[in-house]
Amino acid sequence: MDKTATENTSSQAKPILQVKDLKVYFEMNKTVKPDESASFFSKVFPKKEKVYLKAVDGVSFDLYKGEILALVGESGCGKSTTARGILQLHRPREGQVILEGQELTTLSPRELKKCRQKIQMVFQDPYASLNPRMTVGDVIAEPAKVFRTYKNRSDLQTALIDTMKKVGLEKKFIHRYPHAFSGGQRQRIGIARALISQPEIIVADEPVSALDVSIQAQVLNLFSDLQKDLGLTYVFIAHDLSVVKHMCTRVAVMYLGRIVEVAPTKKIFEKQRHPYTQALISAVNVPDPVIEKKRERIVLQGEIPSPLNPPHGCPFHTRCSKAQDRCRQERPYLEEKAENHQVACFFPND
C-alpha cells in the first residue's frame, strides 16, 4: 500500500467526508439515590431522573478519497456510535456530517436512502445485523437490489457469487440461513453485504475481529486491493493495532467520546504524544510465548470513567500518570502539536 501518496494528496484535495463536532447523546433514566431523610415512599420507589449519556461528544475529522482512517480506543469510548452517527443510524444531537458536499443530518429518510448507496457499513455484531429469516444469498444481495447496482438478475447473481468467493464464503452456502454459520463466517456475510453495492466509503466496525489470521489476511488484502484499484475509502474501527498498522493510512484515537490524538499511521506508531495512546500501544500482544510470558503488561491504573458521569477537565486525567491541576479543571482540545499530528493534551510527549 502506498501510504505516502495518500498522505500527500490529503493536504490538497477536498475531503470526501467531513465530520464536524458530531455529538450523539442517549437519554437515560437514572435512579436518584434517596437520602436518609427521604420519606418511606420515595425510598421504595426512588425517583428517576433523565440524564444524557454522552456517547460521542464533539468528534471532528476529514476523510479523503482513498484514505483508510483507523478509529481506535477503549471499549465503550464511542467508536460504534460515531460510525452510526455518520450513517445517521443514530441521529446526531449536534454537529454535521458532510458527504461529498451534502449535509446528511438534515436529510429526510428518503433522501438519506440515496446517499447510503455511497456509504456502507459493516456492523460490529454480525449476527444481530443479519435478518435470520433471509437466506444468506438474499441477505448479501439485498443492498445491490435496493440500489439497482447491477443491470439484470444474472449480473447480480454473478456479482453475488464473486463477492462471496472474495470473502471466502463458498457458493454452496447461498441457500443457508445465518444461524447455521460460525462466528467468522457471519462476519464475512456482513462484509460481502457492504461490498456488493460498490460504495465509495465503507465504515467497517471491527470487520475482522472474529476471523482467524489466515482469513483475516485474505479479507485485509481484499480491502487494500479495493482501495488501490477503485480508490475505496474506509473508516476502519479496530482494536487490533497490528492490523491497524498494516492497513491504515491515518489513526484517530478516541477516549470517552472524543478524539484525543490523530496522526498518520507511521507517525503515531513512532511517537505517541497523548499518554492514553502511549498506554494503548504498549499493551499490544506479541504472538510469541517466550516474550509474552515474560512481559509485564501495562494495565492502566485508576478508575475507568463512566460517560454518565464524565470527569471534569481532561477525560483521561483519572488514569493519567502525568495529570496536573490544570488537567482536572480545563478540557484540552485537539491542537496541531507537530505536522499533521493533532493532540488534545496539555502536557503531550514531544
Binding site: 481506535v72 477503549e74 447455521a180 460460525s182 472474529a210 489470521v213 485485509l220 482494536h239 498498522k245 509474552e292
Partner: protein
C-alpha cells in the same frame, strides 16, 4: 511432570457432531479426543468454521437436536459420565452443571443475551437458579463481577438492556455472568474479540487470577495467537472438525509441526514488520458435507504426499514429554516406523 498428576476435569473421547441440513449432513466435528486437567488453561485455535464453537456447545448440550446430532464414546466431567447408556448427552445432568460448575462465555453476546430483559434480570436469574441466595446478595455479587470486568458505574448500568451497551461491554457482561457462580470449568469462546488491548489485558489478567486463586480450569477459544501465547499452557489446533496438532504452548510455537499450524502462524500481521501483503493459506476449507477418508488439509497443503491420501493420518506424539501430538503423515513416517 507434576501437572500430570492433577485430576482430570474434562475427558472427551471421539466426539462427533453432525447437522442435518437441506444440502445434506454437515460433519462439523469429526471424532475429537482430549482431556483437560484441573487448573489448566488450554487454548483452542483454528480456522473459522473448523468446529471450535460447535464442539464445545455440543458437549455442554447447548445445540438444538435436531438439526444437530451428537455422539461421543466418552464424555466425563470430574470422572462422572455425562452420557446416557446409548452414548447420547445426558441433558438432566448437564442442566445442573451448566451455569454452575461449568459456564460458558459465548462468542456472540447478542444471541445469548435476551434483548428484552435488563442485564440485572438476566444476571440475578442465573445465580438464583443455582444458589440459595437473597436478591440483595445476588445484586451485590453481580455489581462486583461487573466492576471486575471494567464496567464503570455498575450499580446504575446493571439496569440497562443489552443494546444499550457497546460491543465490548456486552462481551464483558457475558464474562461477568459466566463468573457469577465461580465455575470449576470455564469455556471462553473468543472472549476478548471485541476488546481493545488495554481492556483485553485487564480481562486476561482477571482470568489468570481466578485460574490461580480458585483453580478454575479454562478452555480458551481464540484466533488471536498473541493472546494465546500469553495465557495458555497448552494449545489444540483444529482444522476441518478435527484436532490436527496439540501440545505445550512454547513447543507449538518453537517446533510447529503441522503444515496448517505453520500457515496459521505465517499469516499473523506483526507490529514490527512492514509488508505489503499478508500471507494467507491458499484454497478453501474442507467440504464438510461428506466424511473424508484422507487428510482434511490435503488440498491446501504445500507438503502433501501420496501417502496423505491413504486414510486419516493418525494423531500421534512427536514429543511425549511436551505432550506434542500431530496428525500428519510427515511425522508418521519419521516416527511411526
Amino acid at each position: 511432570m507434576e501437572t500430570n498428576k492433577k485430576k482430570i476435569v474434562l475427558e472427551v473421547e471421539e466426539l462427533y457432531t453432525k447437522f442435518t441440513t437441506d444440502e445434506g449432513v454437515v460433519h462439523a466435528v469429526n471424532g475429537i479426543s482430549y482431556s483437560i486437567r484441573e487448573g489448566e488453561i488450554v487454548g483452542i485455535v483454528g480456522e473459522s468454521g473448523s468446529g471450535k464453537s460447535v464442539s464445545n456447545l455440543a458437549l455442554l448440550g447447548l445445540l438444538a437436536t435436531p438439526p444437530a446430532k451428537i455422539y461421543a464414546k466418552k464424555l466425563e466431567f470430574l470422572g462422572e459420565s455425562l452420557l446416557t447408556k446409548e452414548g447420547f448427552l445426558d441433558q438432566k445432568k448437564l442442566r445442573k452443571l451448566r451455569g454452575n460448575k461449568i459456564s460458558m462465555i459465548f462468542q456472540d453476546p447478542m444471541t445469548s443475551l435476551n434483548p428484552f430483559l435488563s442485564i440485572r434480570t438476566q444476571m440475578l436469574e442465573a445465580v438464583m437458579f443455582h444458589r440459595k441466595i437473597s436478591k440483595e446478595k445476588a445484586m451485590d455479587l453481580a455489581v462486583e463481577k461487573l466492576t471486575l470486568v471494567g464496567i464503570a458505574d455498575a450499580r446504575e448500568r446493571i439496569n440497562y438492556y443489552p443494546h444499550e451497551f457497546s460491543g465490548g461491554m456486552r462481551q464483558r457482561v457475558m464474562i461477568a455472568m459466566a463468573l457469577m457462580c465461580d465455575p470449576l470449568l470455564l469455556i471462553a469462546d473468543e472472549p476478548t474479540t471485541a476488546l481493545d488491548v488495554t481492556i483485553q489485558a485487564q480481562i486476561i489478567e482477571l482470568l489468570q487470577e481466578i485460574n490461580e486463586k480458585l483453580q478454575t480450569t479454562i478452555i480458551f477459544i481464540t484466533h488471536d495467537l498473541g493472546v494465546i501465547a500469553g495465557i495458555s499452557e497448552r494449545i489444540m489446533v483444529m482444522y476441518g472438525g478435527s484436532i490436527v496438532e496439540s501440545g505445550q504452548t512454547e513447543d507449538i510455537f518453537a517446533h510447529t509441526s503441522h503444515p496448517y499450524t505453520k500457515g496459521l502462524l505465517a499469516s499473523i500481521p506483526k507490529l514490527d514488520e512492514d509488508k505489503d501483503r499478508l500471507n494467507t493459506i491458499e484454497g478453501s476449507p474442507p467440504f464438510l458435507l461428506k466424511t473424508l477418508d484422507f487428510c482434511p488439509f490435503y488440498d491446501r497443503c504445500e507438503q502433501r504426499m501420496d501417502s496423505c491420501l491413504e486414510g486419516i493420518p493418525p494423531y500421534i506424539f512427536t514429543n511425549v514429554e511436551n505432550e506434542h501430538k500431530v496428525a500428519c503423515r510427515l511425522f508418521d513416517e519419521q516416527n511411526g516406523k
